[in-house]
Symmetry: C2
Subunit: 255 residues, 2 copies
């Protein structure tokens, strides 16, 4: 079944030790729409109950997993392989960021190429012979003081980069909730109400600053991006604040 | 101690359930150089042996963790808060990708602002009252068919975006291993050797294609990015292939 998705990269985990990590890797892949997972000689055999438990809603990925006796067999039908490794290697290879690697993977799969991303086992990482099978190295820009990435985290970052680059989600969008934005006249009317209440309280003082203070107040209300409900709320707030307060005559700062 | 790192965002986990996830979150943060973690009412109390075990080399992050009774207390000294949530909300807020959110966080912390990233508990995610405390929402571009991100994975993605945007790692660099790149004359000499051996074998045939075939061969060798050791290896390969072979007279295709 796996072979239906020729436009996706295949993620290959070499001798993973913990079923939990295999499950977490499958879950992270499927979070970003990737479903082609291969295992090379998983330490505790296959299938794995722990993997199934950790995969949560991504069990379909595990059901289609390909299991291979060695790395060569797992990569046999792939034309372009990227090896994830943190350690510097005695190998001559281009070294890409996850971002650049997944951009390249998108280009290649778009041209019909069969792309693989190779991940080493927990703790030890990929052996040199496996890295040597790859045409390029992926190096995650980690804290040099603590470069050891959890296997599923590393899979998740690569899957995220794949998904991010194919996503149509805008960098910044507004969510307006279910309420309507207030119209200009409604905000103006709220501002006028505020000024009317603040005037007798002596807020606009000293007089040579009063015009600037009024302008600031209106600019602030405009900046809030008020909804119609907000405007009603603020009218209520102002009403409650001034209730039973004696009118007329300067107060506040002017006292 | 936490307060020394004013130029880092604070990651706030609201009522996390599993110590393992707190530890994995700390590890993922420290992988990308982040160390300011706060917990709001962790379900199983604090400290957590499970968190320590999962944090691996990032225990220093756990040692400095701040624990707060409620979300308000955890955010009290922060000026800008981003809430990570997958579900659409009945709230009026800007919605950012992780990339845009962390770019914004870098700008803000660079200006001395105190920035927080808010994460909800496993399964349920953030409640509306907590999201309402944030000025902006972060939405990871997930597979709509399976949007449920593991807590530590979500923390890891945000930490990765922080680290990626501050990283000086070039998108693509070459690793040349420890051997020296071959010089032009060495590659030329290998090409000449090859041609010399291929000529009597009738490889450059038909004659009107011969010039193009020679050019292709040299272009291919140049593309390989050969090291000096590669050149020696290939000389040996050619030598071995032609050993004890009768010389002279067309062979191969010409037979």
């Amino acid at each position: 079944m796996e072979e239906r998705h020729a436009t996706e990269p295949v993620f290959v985990l070499v001798t993973p030790q913990l079923g939990e990590n295999i499950g977490a890797a499958a879950r992270a892949m499927w979070n970003f729409g990737l479903s082609r997972l291969r295992l090379v000689a998983p330490r505790d055999g296959w299938p794995s109950p722990e993997a199934g438990a950790t995969a949560s809603g991504a069990r379909a990925v595990l059901d289609r997993v390909g299991v291979f006796p060695d790395t060569g067999a797992a990569l046999a039908d792939l034309s372009h392989v990227f090896a994830c490794t943190a350690r510097p290697r005695e190998l001559t290879r281009p070294v890409l960021t996850p971002e650049a690697a997944m951009a390249e993977a998108r280009t290649l799969t778009g041209q019909g190429a069969r792309v693989g991303i190779l991940f080493g086992p927990e703790r030890a990482g990929l052996i040199n012979d496996d890295v040597a099978r790859a045409q390029a190295i992926v190096s995650v820009p980690v804290n040099p003081a603590f470069p050891s990435l959890n296997l599923a985290q590393c899979v998740g970052l690569l899957a995220y980069e794949w998904g991010r680059q194919g996503s149509a989600q805008p960098a910044l969008a507004m969510s307006w909730g279910s309420t309507e934005a207030a119209q200009g006249a409604e905000v103006d009317s709220l501002a006028a109400r505020l000024e009317r209440e603040l005037e007798p309280a002596g807020y606009f003082w000293p007089e040579d600053k009063a015009e600037g203070m009024r302008r600031n107040l209106r600019a602030m209300l405009a900046r809030f991006g008020l909804t119609r409900a907000d405007v009603q709320t603020l009218h209520g707030v102002v009403r409650a604040l001034v209730r039973d307060k004696p009118r007329g005559g300067p107060r506040g700062r002017a006292r």
